[in-house]
Amino acid sequence: MSAPDQVGFHAQQHARWHWGEFAFWIAALACAFAFPSRYLIMTDIVRLALFALSLDLILGYAGIVSLGHAAFFGVGAYAAGLLSLHGIIAEPVIALIVAGLAATLLGFATSFLVIRGVDLTRLMVTLGIALLLEALAERFSDITGGTDGLQGIEMQPILGRFGFDMFGKTGLFYSLIVLFLLFLLARRIVHSPFGLSLRAIKNNPLRAAAIGIPVNRRLIAIYTLAAFYAGIAGALFTQTTALASLDVFAFERSADLMLVLVIGGTGYLYGGLIGAVVFRMLQEVFSAITPQYWQFWIGLVLVVIVLVGRARLHRWVLFLPNLVITQFAGRKAAVAVPESEAQGESHG
C-alpha cells in the first residue's frame, strides 16, 4: 500500500462512527426523557455545547485563539430576536437559519481581519470586535432596546406545529435536534480532506502552505463556518428564552466559553459538549455554595487547569472512559485522545 493510500485508510478509520459516540448521543437523548423537571437547564447546556462546538472548530482545528466569540453569538441572538419581534420571519426554524446567516456574514467580513497577524493581534482584534458590537448595540438602543434588551418576543410554533411551552420541553428537543444536525455537519467537515488540511495548518502553517494548502482561504472558510455555528447558538438562546440583552456580547461569555472548551478538551468535537455539561454542573454546585460569588470558583478552576496542564488533565479525565471503550471494543478501538497526543498522531 502506498503512502497516500495509507493516509486515506487511516483517515477513514478515524472518521468511522464508533461505539462510544452512539452511547454518548443515546445518553443525551435518555437524559432529555429522564429528567422532565430539568428542561431549562438542559436546554442551557445544549446551547452552550453548540456554542463551544463553534469555538472548537476554529480553536481546536485551525488554532485560531479568539477572545471575542460572543460577537457572533450576540449577532445571532439579536437577529433572531428582531426577526421574531417585528414579525419579519415568524417561523422559528427559518428565522434560526437567517440569524445564523447574519452571523456568518459578520464572520466572513471579520475573518479578513483575524487571519492577519499573530496570536496576540488576533486576541486583540477578536476582543475588539466583540466590544465594538457591544458598544454599537448600546448606542442604537432604539433598535436593540439598550440595557433593557429586547422585550416582548413571542415565539411562533416550530414548523407551525410544535408550540413553545412554559416548561421548555419543546425548546429542549428543538435545541437538541439542531445541535445534533450541526454536529453531524461539523463531524463530516473535520473528517473531510478540508478538515485534515486545517489540522495541517494548525500544526505548521508554513509547511502547510509549502505543500500547497491555501492557508488563508481555509482559515477564512472555517472562521466563517464557526461564526455560523455561534450565530445559531445565539439564535437558539433568544428563541428558547424569548430574551436578548446586551450581555450576549459580554467578555465573560467569551471567557466562559473558553473554559467550557478547555474543560472538555479541544480538537475532537466532543470536548465542547462534555465541557458544557461539566461547566454547567460546576456552576450549579458553586452557586449552591456561594450564590453571588460562583465566579471565584470558576476562576480557580481555570487557574488550576492551566497550572496542572491541559493535556495531563485530559489524560486523567479520559482514563476511565477509554478503559471502558477498550474493554468493549478491543485494544485497537478509537479512543478519545487528549489534544497533545492527537497532534502527535497527525505528526507521525
Binding site: 466590544l131 465594538l132 458598544a135 473558553m258 465566579q295 476562576g299 497550572l307
Partner: protein, 289 residues
C-alpha cells in the same frame, strides 16, 4: 477655546494615569511576551489598599499612595514566584486562560470582601476644586496626577536607559539565553520587573479611584484600555506606550465630551485599524522577535 484647553488638560491627565496603570503590562506583555489579562487586578488591589488605609484608618492620602505601591508590588512578587513563572514558556492560550481565571477570582474576592458598590477615597482639601490659569480651568487633583506621573515616567526612562539594572533588563528581554550566559540572573530580573510593574499599577489604581472609579469590576472594565496602550504603543521602548496612552486619554476625554453618543466606539475602531495596519504597534519595531 478655554474649554478645549481644559479638555486637553484632562485628557493628558487621564492619559498619564493610563500610562502608569499600563506600563507594567508593557513590560510583561510587550517585552516578556506574556499575555497578562489580570494586570488590572493588581491596580484594583492597590486602589483598595489605599482606600482602606485612608478611609478606615485615617491615614493621610499621600501616605496611602506609597503603601498602595508596596502592597501591589508584594502581591505581584508572590504571584510571580508562585504561579506566573511557570507559564512564561506556555502558549498564549494557556496564559490567557490563566490570567482570565485570576481576574474572575479577584473580582469575586473583592466583591465578597469590600462589597460591589463603587468606593471613593477621601481626598485632602488641598486637592479639591480647580483654579484658573489664563482662563483655563485646571483641576488640582488632575494637576497632581500629571506631576506625579510625569516624574515617574521620567524616572522610568532614566532607569531603563542609564542604569545597570536597565541594561540588564533590556539584555534579558532581547535574548534570555545569551543574557544568562553573561551572568545575568534572568528570572530574578523578570521577577523584580514584574513586581515593580504591579506596584506601579497599584499606585495608578489608587490615583484613579477619583477619575476612573473603583469597583470590583475594575479589572474587566479597563482591561481593554491597558491592552490598547501596549499593543498600539508597541514595546520597543517606554516612549511608545507613553505616547499611546496620551493619545488614548485625549481621544477618550474629547470623544466623551464632544460626541458622547458614539461612546467607546471610536476607540475600538481606531485600535482595530491600527493593529491591522501595524501589527507590532504604532511605535513598535518592524519585526517581532
Amino acid at each position: 477655546m478655554t474649554s478645549v484647553l481644559t479638555n486637553l488638560f484632562d485628557g493628558v491627565a487621564y492619559g498619564m494615569l493610563l500610562f502608569v496603570l499600563a506600563c507594567g503590562l508593557a513590560v510583561t506583555l510587550g517585552l516578556m511576551n506574556f499575555v497578562n489579562l489580570a494586570h488590572g487586578a493588581f491596580a484594583m488591589a492597590g486602589g483598595y489598599v489605599c482606600a482602606v488605609l485612608v478611609n478606615q484608618y485615617g491615614w493621610p492620602f499621600f501616605a496611602g499612595l506609597p503603601l498602595a505601591f508596596v502592597a501591589s508590588a508584594a502581591i505581584g512578587a508572590v504571584l510571580e514566584r508562585l504561579l506566573y513563572r511557570h507559564l512564561y514558556t506556555r502558549s498564549h492560550l494557556d496564559q490567557v486562560l490563566f490570567s482570565v481565571g485570576l481576574v474572575f477570582m479577584s473580582v469575586a474576592a473583592v466583591d465578597y470582601i469590600m462589597g460591589s458598590s463603587r468606593i471613593f477615597i477621601n481626598l485632602p482639601h488641598a486637592l479639591e476644586g480647580q483654579f484658573d490659569v489664563f482662563g483655563v480651568g485646571i483641576g488640582r487633583y488632575r494637576l497632581m496626577i500629571v506631576v506625579i506621573c510625569g516624574l515617574l515616567t521620567a524616572g522610568l526612562q532614566l532607569v531603563l536607559a542609564r542604569t545597570r539594572f536597565g541594561s540588564r533588563l533590556r539584555a534579558a528581554v532581547d535574548d534570555p539565553r545569551a543574557a544568562s550566559g553573561l551572568g545575568i540572573n534572568v528570572p530574578q530580573v523578570f521577577a523584580f520587573t514584574f513586581a515593580f510593574g504591579c506596584g506601579l499599577a497599584g499606585l495608578g489604581g489608587a490615583l484613579s479611584a477619583e477619575i476612573l472609579g473603583l469597583d470590583p469590576y475594575f479589572p474587566l472594565k479597563f482591561m481593554i484600555y491597558f491592552l490598547i496602550v501596549v499593543t498600539v504603543g508597541g514595546a520597543s521602548s517606554i516612549t511608545g506606550p507613553f505616547l499611546a496612552s496620551l493619545l488614548l486619554g485625549i481621544a477618550d476625554v474629547a470623544g466623551k465630551y464632544y460626541v458622547p453618543k458614539l461612546g467607546p466606539f471610536v476607540i475600538y475602531t481606531v485600535m482595530i485599524v491600527i493593529l491591522l495596519w501595524r501589527p507590532n504597534g504604532l511605535f513598535g519595531r518592524t519585526s517581532a522577535r
